[in-house]
Amino acid sequence: MKKKAISGLRGERYRGIREFLKEFRRSRSGVLGLAMILAFAVISAYATVRYPYSEVIKWNEPRLWKENPTNVPPTWIQTIVNKALPETATYVAPENTKANLTYRGATSIITTVDHLLSFRYSYGETPTNVIVSFKVQYNKSSPSVILTWIKPDGTNIELVSFILERGVVGPPYFITNDLFPLYDDQIKRNLAAFLRTAFNLTQAGELESNMVLKVLFGTNQSIISSGPVEVLKGSYRLRLSFQSFNLVSDFPSSNPVDDIQTFKMVLTGKVYGAMGTDDKGRDLFIGILWGAPIALLIGLLTSVISVAIGVFLGIFSGFYGGTVDNAIQRVTDYFLILPVLPLLIFLSFILGTTGGRSIWVLIVLLSVFGWPGITKVVRSLALQIRESGYVEAARALGASNFSVLLRHLLPQTLPYAFANIALSVPGVIFAEASLSFLNLGDPVLPTWGKILGDAQMGGAAVAGYWWWVLIPGLCIILVAMSFALLGNALDRILTPRLRKR
């Protein structure tokens, strides 16, 4: 008999737990799985802190993403392809480049404001989009604005000149305007006119969108030729000229405060962020990051609920037997014979049309299909224990049914339950991913399945947007694998093995 140094008291009471921990430490895959899960937990905590829930539900509001490029890969691919790709940048015109002029005439006051925004552009490729935004304040009449684009070689292009609409609330009126040169008809016409006058090209009335960037950023040579655009690198300037009219009678002593409040421009690049963007310009990093806590929440909560139900029913069924057992068996068999995903879709669809479709409904639905598997096993375990010698011994002691349940059945079932919780998480995550892919999951939260579903609808696979597909999928796989590793290790250690007497 090996005389082991089993430290006294703790060895008596908690030896089971200590033996388990010792064995678990030895299992490399189990420790790996646990480490991965902890890593995901940390990431999830970070996600909820860095981007609180109120931020995340904006995932579905398109106007918040309008200043992002669409369908672009992450910034780090620049190191892989060894090329500097234009990144998204926002340029704000500083106060010191603004020139205000007020002219008081006999009856009218003319206010002129000139604001200059300058930036350096030295990428080898054009940006994907140009967005010019400005906010003005004025009192009486609708002012006029002129936007001029000045290239490094001195070329002046008047992009657009127009009169602002009268505001609703005021005076004073505050108007914000966003101009998209790529889509704005007026700007495109003006650019076409520019081409005709500057280069003597026979150009149709309106410039095509794909030519706009070439004209704005290209060298004169590449504008004329039909080949790819060669970027004119250097200092660019954008001038916003604003003019408004007021009556002297309204401002006898002072001057109106008509002015340009903000003037900025966003150039969206060909790369964005840590994980790229989708077809709505959403920063995939945020969505994917938030997928982690959601996946963990759904996975663990559903598993715990399913296993709890399954264990409870299994114990009831196996321990008490009789008609209760038969009834529970029939119900379990019924669930096991149904095809899971089609029914999940069916029920999800029905519930969606009648009531809400939130994450909690999803959890309940997934739990309903999760418990039958473990019930069968727990039941056979309960049966086996019920017939065992030590239960008879306990009864001989005078222990009540409840006491036997608590002292013998539960402690033997719990380890198995824990292993099973870990092992059912991957299945839950896949099921949730499938449902979200089909747009049957929570409509607000960005889960990995939903992102992939959006990718499918956005034609990502066919168009080669690999970052939209690869990263969310890898996340799913890693989380599933980590729980599978942990669960397998737990199962190996905790499941009763045949001991050699």
């Binding site: 006294g8 008596e12 009471r13 001991r499």
Partner: protein
């Protein structure tokens, strides 16, 4: 006359058997009208072949199984009428040691936890310190010392003999008055058997215990018991002191049983007393004397018609056979 600690009267246990939906209900007559007494401080051995009902009888006495009919008196009180609360109290007084020590213990519990369970069930000893003291005392009683070395072990880390000692310790820890031992040494090696039997004897003396010892081994009963009862097909066929039962059996079945025990002397030829046929089914026992289809002596109609009662054929020697006197004649006894 001292009131016996345990008095069993006309105990019956019939198990219902369902053959199919349409056959009439049948019963396995495991224990059929059994009566005996056990005096305080004595050891009664209950012996017989497998399936004769001895284990069932033992379990009935401690009310692990419910009797179909009959009375069981413990200390003069009829325990069959106990409600659950008094029954639990009773179980404190009457404990059991099982046949298979490995099966009777939860393989996932340490020895400490196994021994602690009786204390927890009956709410004995509130503090952990007290409980540990009791556990250690119990281990010392069964000579597993030092106790601290044994408490952290799992059952599979003990030898067969040690396991059985732990089982005995578990039975003892509540200081019962009565222990039912169900073939406690059958699964142990020969060398270990003597140790355990001696342990029982010591403990009985130390704690003034009463013991019902179930076994199929006549040699063991001879060693340990004060009285020996032989059972066949749910009925007791003979009770007397072990020596008398073995050496001067007054029932043909006992005779055959004794003769079947091999003697380790190659010169002695086994005089086999032929019992023909298979053991009858306890569902449909033969009419009259249950042993008559196999009994070499039963050539008379009375054996088939009338069931022989268990009577005192000789002082303190009971047998259930119409023809015990034939055997008595053989031994040269006079009918007392």
């Amino acid at each position: 006359m001292v009131e016996p600690l345990i008095s069993v009267k006309n105990l019956r246990k019939w198990f219902p058997v369902r053959r199919g939906l349409f056959t009439p209900k049948m019963f396995v007559r495991a224990v059929d009208d059994v009566s005996f007494d056990i005096e305080k401080g004595k050891i009664l051995a209950l012996a017989g072949e497998s399936g004769c009902g001895k284990t069932t009888t033992g379990k009935l006495i401690i009310r692990l199984i419910e009797p179909t009919s009959g009375g069981i008196l413990f200390n003069g009180e009829d325990i069959t009428s106990y409600d659950s609360k008094r029954l639990k109290e009773f179980k404190k007084q009457a404990q059991i040691v099982f046949q298979d020590p490995y099966d009777a213990m939860n393989p996932r519990q340490t020895v400490f936890q196994i021994l602690q369970e009786p204390l927890l069930v009956h709410d004995v000893s509130s503090s952990g310190e007290e409980a540990r003291e009791l556990v250690y005392r119990a281990l010392e009683d069964v000579q597993l010392t030092p106790p601290e070395e044994f408490t952290p072990r799992f059952p599979h880390e003990l030898s067969g003999g040690q396991r059985q000692r732990v089982a005995v310790a578990r039975a003892l820890i509540l200081h019962p008055k009565f222990i039912m031992a169900d073939e406690p040494v059958s699964m142990l090696d020969m060398s270990v058997r003597a140790e355990i039997l001696n342990l029982f004897l010591d403990l009985i003396e130390k704690y003034d215990l009463t013991l019902l010892f179930i076994t199929h081994d006549l040699a063991v009963s001879k060693y340990i018991a004060d009285e020996l009862a032989i059972m066949y097909l749910g009925k007791i066929v003979e009770i007397a002191s072990p020596e008398e039962v073995v050496d001067t059996s007054l029932h043909p079945y006992t005779l055959a049983l004794v003769a079947a025990v091999p003697v380790p002397d190659p010169r002695v030829k086994l005089s086999k007393i032929p019992i023909h046929g298979e053991i009858s089914s306890p569902i449909n026992p033969p009419s009259g004397c249950r042993f008559h289809p196999r009994c070499p002596m039963a050539q008379f109609p009375i054996c088939k018609e009338q069931e022989p009662p268990l009577e005192e054929k000789f002082p303190a020697h009971f047998a259930a056979c119409h023809f015990s006197y034939v055997l008595m004649d053989k031994y040269g006894f006079k009918k007392g």
